[in-house]
């Protein structure tokens, strides 16, 4: 597609429910990132995928968070047993490649706003 697409754009859920957030990266972009942004805060790295390599999960805050990516396409971020502190905007970004000096510019999606009641 022309840009990074995320769905849903808004999700309201009850505490304890599971949620799944989806990201469609730009076609041909091998690198995909998930970030969390709490209200008025910065961008918190969650996870990074590069092609078929093992993902870098070092930013996932707990074992309730997991993410998958099918090849170099769609990614889903799953949050199990949601808590109120999970309320945030979850941003996905993709780039043509990563780890290469000079060209891993990120293109962000519009984000998925999650509210846990």
């Amino acid at each position: 597609g022309a840009g990074v697409s995320q769905s849903p754009s808004n999700k309201v859920t009850e505490k304890g429910k599971d949620v799944e957030l989806r990201c469609d990266p730009i076609s041909g972009h091998t690198a995909l990132y998930w970030y969390r942004q709490r209200l008025g805060q910065g961008l918190e790295f969650l996870i990074y995928f590069q092609g078929n390599s093992a993902p870098d999960k070092s930013g996932l805050p707990s074992d309730r968070f997991s993410a998958e990516r099918t090849g170099e396409s769609v990614s889903t971020l799953t949050i199990q047993r949601t808590q109120q502190e999970d309320s945030a905007v979850y941003l996905c970004a993709s780039s043509p490649r990563s780890g290469a000096s000079g060209a891993n510019v990120l293109t962000f999606g519009a984000g998925s706003r999650l509210t846990v009641l």
């Binding site: 970030y35 910065g42 790295f45 990563s98 780890g99 000079g102 891993n104 519009a110």
Partner: protein
């Protein structure tokens, strides 16, 4: 990823005044990128600096990369209300891409 600090965290300026945000690293960076996030929006790439001492301009915005490649700055001349938002720096060229803390700019008309 590389860790960078940005200062100031917040800045309020009168429209027409200049604005500068600084990005500092304790280690030498491969390159540095700058992004802008408008209120309610998502980060958008502005520019990438690669060379030591590099200076790039985009209209009223001037970006600099330090000689030692450990710091960078973004200067806006004669701010306008359209400049409102949060400016993030980001060390580029690393697999784990982390962002600076950001500088939130408010422009008072």
């Amino acid at each position: 990823g590389q860790q960078v600090m940005q200062i100031p965290q917040y800045q309020h300026v009168q429209e027409g005044e200049d604005f500068t945000t600084y990005c500092n690293s304790s280690t030498t960076l491969s390159n540095i990128q700058w992004y802008k996030q408008r209120p309610g929006g998502h980060p958008v790439f502005l520019i990438q600096l690669v060379k030591s001492g590099e200076v790039k301009k985009q209209k009223r915005l001037t970006f600099q990369f330090g000689e030692a490649k450990k710091n960078s700055s973004l200067h806006i001349t004669a701010t306008q209300t359209t400049d409102v938002g949060t400016y993030f720096c980001c060390p580029g060229g690393y697999q784990k891409v982390t962002f600076g803390t950001g500088t939130k700019l408010q422009v008072i008309p």
